[in-house]
């Protein structure tokens, strides 16, 4: 599904990813762990096409298509979703309007007619229930005045609406208390199907107690230095990252 080969990425001339390779097959959940500054968020940003990051060499393909040739919106409409570490506030743009535009842009990309207003509202109601999203949040502007936990929940709500094939969760657990973490993780698990894949980016093993990965990779200095199964996460929890350097 996702195939990253020997990826080199720079920002402002500074190389962050230094030859990263990763393969994610349909239905798999991969956790990417690593210390601060190892390049975890850069990887997420590069997959979704953040123009601030420059790919100097290597390739990313998604279902056989060259992602690096595509705009961020095309990547999204191909079925890639990023749950942001720091979701952006957009004053004046209502959640409803935002989601309706996104859904209809996706439908347009897939050559489907726009969703009717009543179908849309019904669909949204369903998805809100799934992540336990409060009505008052969907009536507000996108992320404006949301608490940290509400923003993360909103990311998962958007993911539920857009039904991506590949979801990348960038530090979705950071800033969440244990109850919020449980709700968010439950939402992610409920959305999981045998075809859908997930990449979890996290510092800590905590999230992995709720969303169990098939593979764990350790990123250090822009490369994957160790890969394993979920036991690797536990090992990291006790030993830290230093032994891998």
């Amino acid at each position: 599904m996702l195939e990253i080969k020997n990826l080199h990425v720079s920002i402002d001339g500074k190389e962050i990813l230094k030859g990263l390779s990763l393969t994610v097959k349909p239905g798999e959940t991969h956790a990417i762990m690593g210390p601060n500054g190892s390049g975890k968020s850069t990887l997420a940003s590069t997959i979704v096409g953040n123009p601030a990051f420059e790919v100097t060499s290597g390739s990313i393909t998604f279902e056989g298509k060259n992602l690096l040739e595509k705009d961020p919106e095309e990547r999204a409409n191909e079925g890639i979703f990023l749950s942001f570490q720091y979701p952006v506030e957009i004053p004046g743009v209502s959640m409803v309007n935002f989601m309706r535009t996104a859904i209809n842009e996706q439908r347009k990309y897939r050559k489907l007619p726009p969703m009717s207003a009543s179908d849309f509202l019904r669909f949204m109601r369903e998805k809100k229930a799934l992540v336990d999203m409060d009505n008052k949040l969907t009536n507000r502007s996108v992320n404006e005045g949301f608490s940290g936990g509400e923003k993360k929940k909103n990311e998962i709500f958007q993911m539920a609406m857009l039904e991506p094939k590949l979801a990348i969760l960038d530090e979705t657990d950071s800033g969440l208390d244990i109850d919020a973490l449980r709700i968010v993780a439950n939402g992610v698990n409920k959305l999981k199907t045998p075809e859908k894949s997930t990449i979890l980016i996290t510092h800590y093993q905590r999230l992995l107690e709720y969303i169990v990965p098939d593979y764990v990779h350790v990123l250090h200095d822009g490369k994957i230095v160790k890969s394993g199964t979920k036991e690797l996460a536990l090992e990291l929890e006790t030993k830290g990252y230093d032994w891998l350097k």
Binding site: V48, D71, E73, V88, I90, T101, E105, Y109
Partner: protein
């Protein structure tokens, strides 16, 4: 350049007077003498730093002193297909009030008078005398003076004590001519004690010639009266639209002025709101969309002369290409005007590197127990928000539009007539998409 107008006046002042009314003529010679001595201001003049009047007045314009009828039937030109909004609709063609069809509007509420200013001066001389020129007299502005010397007619509206208008009044200003034309129209609006009225002004230009419209409005808002004034400007790039609106507010009155400019050439709004009674409320806002070589200059003055008055000002500009915007927000708080609240905000988005905006807050506060604030921001579209939206599958142009609508939303929300707000929202969206043409006729027609 002033010379041509001075000679014109000297040669034709009899003709001008013959085709106007006695009350309007009364201050004409004095106004002319003042104009003759002061002329048009250069851009060195503090109030006209960002709008250069000289080039726009230097063309050889026609002026219609004889009040010849221009061949136009606004009732045909301005057919409209928004049946859910109703208003009393009136037209001023260039600077002449167009006689309304009785059938078209039905009858106005008891005691309400709406007609041409010339007609009002003849039929209701005591009423017009009481108000005409009272707000312009202390002013020292070239456009007002020029207007007072040359204006012969315009729009008159009188809403007597405690009458609440059941529908908004729409005034459609149409510029129509086969040759370059300069028109000076003069409006007088009287909203008596306890009365309520909403006026929607639509400015249009029909022909592909150069127009200068120099309009002056005096507005008197009595005790406890409520007056809302909306203006939609959708003219063309050869129109210089110069508009002065002077508002006098008595105790506990409430006014709203909301200006929306979508297409134009050069626009200058001089708005002055004077609060001459306690507990007045004044809101002043505007949404300006500029592209091409459009120029939009809003020069606003709010005078807090009495205690316990509140004013709130919000102007927003979205400027593309080489368009230019300017905003001046002057607020005076007199010594005795304690417990004044005066807020002002100007926010601008520049969509191109060559678009420019100048903003000048000017506050003079002589009272010590007041809450006043002002702010101005100018920036580009939020790149982070754009990227976030794109990762949700929203294309770049669509994401930009969503952000621009969001930016305009609070000005639109400040329209207190819901059907008008919806219509305005649609027009602003259309304009931002680049789909709203000039010459579209009355895009806001409420019939």
């Amino acid at each position: 350049m002033e010379k041509q107008y001075i000679e014109l006046y000297k040669a034709h002042h009899q003709l001008i007077k013959q085709n106007s009314a006695a009350i309007i003529n009364r201050s004409r010679d004095a106004a002319f003498a003042k104009f003759e001595s002061m002329g048009f201001p250069s851009t060195k003049h503090e109030n006209y730093r960002y709008t250069d009047l000289k080039p726009m007045f230097s063309l050889d314009y026609g002026l219609n002193f004889r009040r010849l009828n221009f061949p136009v039937n606004p009732y045909q030109t301005f057919q409209c297909d928004v049946p859910e909004i109703y208003s009393y609709q009136f037209f001023v063609v260039n600077d002449s009030f167009y006689p309304p069809k009785k059938k078209h509007n039905g009858s106005l509420p008891e005691g309400v008078i709406i007609c041409g200013l010339k007609e009002a001066s003849e039929k209701y001389p005591e009423l017009v005398t009481q108000y005409y020129g009272k707000l312009t007299a202390p002013q020292n502005d070239a456009l007002i003076t020029f207007n007072e010397a040359f204006a012969q007619d315009g729009f008159f509206m009188y809403v007597p004590e405690n009458v609440h208008m059941d529908k908004p009044v729409q005034l459609v200003n149409i510029m129509r001519s086969d040759v370059d034309l300069l028109a000076n129209s003069r409006n007088l609006i009287i909203i008596e004690k306890g009365a309520k009225a909403q006026l929607l002004v639509c400015d249009h230009a029909m022909d592909d010639v150069n127009f200068v419209a120099n309009r002056v409005s005096e507005v008197f808002v009595g005790e406890n009266a409520v007056y809302e004034n909306y203006k939609l400007e959708n003219t063309h790039n050869k129109t210089a639209n110069l508009s002065t609106v002077l508002i006098d507010q008595k105790e506990s009155s409430d006014t709203l002025t909301n200006l929306i400019t979508l297409n134009n050439g050069i626009s200058r709004n001089n708005i002055e709101v004077e609060m001459n009674g306690e507990k007045c409320e004044a809101e002043l806002c505007g949404m300006m969309v500029g592209g091409g070589q459009q120029q939009i200059d809003n020069h606003t003055t709010i005078k807090h002369n009495k205690p316990n008055c509140h004013s709130n000002e919000l102007f927003k500009y979205v400027l593309d290409d080489v368009s230019k915007g300017a905003f001046t927000g002057r607020i005076f708080v007199e010594k005795d005007a304690q417990q004044t609240w005066a807020y002002q905000l100007n926010r601008n988005i520049l969509l191109s590197k060559k678009a420019k905006v100048r903003t000048r807050p000017q506050l003079e506060i002589y009272a010590d127990d007041v809450k006043c604030s002002h702010g101005a921001t100018t920036g580009q579209i939020d790149e982070q928000a754009l990227f976030y939206m794109r990762t949700r599958g929203i294309s770049l142009p669509e994401a930009r539009l969503l952000l621009m609508y969001a930016f305009a939303a609070d000005v639109i929300e400040n329209i207190r007539i819901p059907s008008l707000a919806n219509r305005m929202k649609m027009l602003v969206e259309k304009r931002l998409r680049g789909e709203l043409g000039m010459h579209e006729g009355c895009t806001l027609c409420m019939h």
